[in-house]
């Protein structure tokens, strides 16, 4: 009898194992729950702050509160007041209370993100300001709507477009700075090209004339220097001056010759470059004109979007029959 009523040993072992398993499971769930709660800040001491706004749109309980990108708390309550305003309470971690100043502001952050939860961001707060005491009411700054932000962006871009447009328009003007500069460059190059070949010949001719004049002066002054009275004395000074002139003239002439040779060498070196440039300048001017015209057309087209629309709306051209009879 006793043997029949006594529990089977294997059943008892199974029972103990089951009990142990249940206890371990409960302990694991409790441990994980505690860990997640700790991660979420459930056990972190918090202090309450609040702010008031006119709408609870995008605001909800559990919403994260950030400061400089760090989560420092969450929204604990959103309630409608009797005056139709909305009071939002935030539970902020006590360790961050030093950052919450009396002039800090709360604002809704980044509601433009796709798939991202909106959050509250605490901004402002000067170091000189006093810390906000727990339970204080902070100032709330509403987030601009998407349309307002786009308008803001457009308002910032518009002056840039206007400036670029003005630049292109200026470049397109026939009497504009760019056109004038290109025109002057072409003109100057043409003048240099026409002037350069003759210049060297003219310089050589001038030097030859100076040489001839020097020789003639010497020939004229030599007879006058003969000893025949006062004239000799008068002319002696003149001869001395002439001698000085003759002494000084050759170095001067050689300097001029060297200068001329240097100019000639430079001209020889420059000539191919000038020739190349001279042929390229008209093309460059034309290219510049075409570029500015093209840029202007782009700007005009961007400014006048209806022009593009009209071109889009134009029906495709129909086929043209061949001239030759089939």
């Amino acid at each position: 009898m006793t043997a029949l009523l006594q529990a089977d040993a294997s059943w008892l072992r199974g029972l103990r194992r089951a009990r142990l398993s249940v206890v371990l499971t409960v302990a694991a769930v409790a441990g994980i729950g505690s860990y997640l709660g700790w991660k979420e800040g459930w056990f972190t001491p918090v202090e309450s702050f609040n702010f008031q706004t006119m709408s609870s749109k995008s605001l909800h309980k559990g919403m994260a509160v950030h400061l400089s990108g760090f989560k420092i708390g969450q929204v604990s309550r959103v309630e409608l007041q009797s005056d139709r305003s909305v009071r939002v309470e935030m539970a902020l971690f006590r360790q961050y209370l030093g950052f919450i100043k009396a002039d800090s502001e709360v604002q809704l952050e980044a509601d433009l993100q796709l798939g991202g939860d909106p959050s509250l961001e605490i901004t402002g707060g000067t170091y000189r300001s006093l810390n906000a005491p727990p339970g204080a009411t902070l100032r709330y700054r509403g987030q601009r709507q998407l349309y307002d932000q786009l308008v803001h962006v457009v308002e910032r871009i518009e002056p840039m477009v206007d400036n670029i447009s003005a630049l292109f328009n200026q470049a397109r003007q026939p009497q504009g700075d760019l056109q004038l500069a290109l025109h002057n460059l072409a003109d100057s190059t043409a003048r240099i090209q026409s002037w350069m070949p003759g210049f060297l010949e003219r310089t050589d001719a001038a030097l030859a004339t100076v040489n001839r004049a020097g020789g003639l002066a010497t020939n004229t002054l030599a007879p006058l220097a003969q000893p025949d009275g006062d004239l000799q004395a008068a002319l002696r000074d003149l001869r001395a001056s002439t001698a000085e002139l003759r002494t000084a003239l050759p170095p001067l002439l050689s300097d001029l010759k060297a200068l001329s040779a240097s100019l000639h060498a430079s001209a020889v070196r420059l000539e191919p470059a000038v020739d190349r440039l001279a042929t390229q300048v008209p093309a460059l001017v034309d290219e510049g004109k075409r570029t500015t015209t093209g840029a202007g057309e782009v700007v005009d087209a961007v400014k006048d979007f209806s022009l593009i629309r009209r071109k889009i709306d134009l029906p495709p051209a129909e086929p043209l029959l061949p001239t030759s009879k089939p």
Binding site: L112, I312, P315, E318, P319, L321, P322, S324, K325, P326
Partner: protein
Amino acid sequence: MKQTSARRRLLLASALTLLAGCAEPPPGPPPLLRAAARQTRAGEAAYLTGHADEAVPALAESVHLHLAAGDTPGACRALLNLALAERGAGDAKAAGATARQLRGLAPAARQQAAEAGAVSEADAASAWLDALLALDQGDSAAAASLLAGAPAGFAKASPWPGRLETLRAEIALGQGRFAEALAHAQAGRTSCAAAHDQSEEARALRLAGSARIGLGKWLEARADFLAAVHLEELLGGGARMAGDLDHLATIAEHLGDREGARLYTQRARAIAGEH
């Protein structure tokens, strides 16, 4: 920093997507223009298969539909096609009347094209058609003077620079000015190739080949006619190809290639027999 940059990119993409989503889809052509395009296609098919007389009613309907839709440039092109079909059908009188209609409509088409920011082709088309019909009547001087007044400055994709040059080449060739004809034909060929106007390119090649024969450049002439035959093979222009093969046979005979001449003649007859 990277996260901020990625966020900005995402914001930009979102804004663009939003704007694209706000954009209204472009409307298609109005029903009248769609119907006109269908009639033109039908007329083109009839014309290309050698039934120009059957193309005339469809192209006339296309003109009416374009006018009803207020599309004057389109009506001008339809009038030109109609005149070509009437000319192809052998009705020179009707083609002349259509050319007059086109001449009358050209100023309105020019104005409408200018309002749409486009270059009107109606004036060039009218001048070209008048010159072509004058040339058909053997009045090459009138044709040349009509072409002299044709406007220029079209885009590369326009068929008109090529067509005008090719017609000038034909006039010069008819007047025995072979070098001038060759120059116009070569210019026309280049413009037609740029505009993908293959039938007109083949015509320019044919004219260039004839001009070279006149200049005694037989080898180059053979190359031109061979290129024309190649294009006509693509276009399916049997009668024109047979004519080109006849020219090739003449050239081959002149160059002493009797076997080649026989083969060209044989092939030309076979094609002419099919048509």
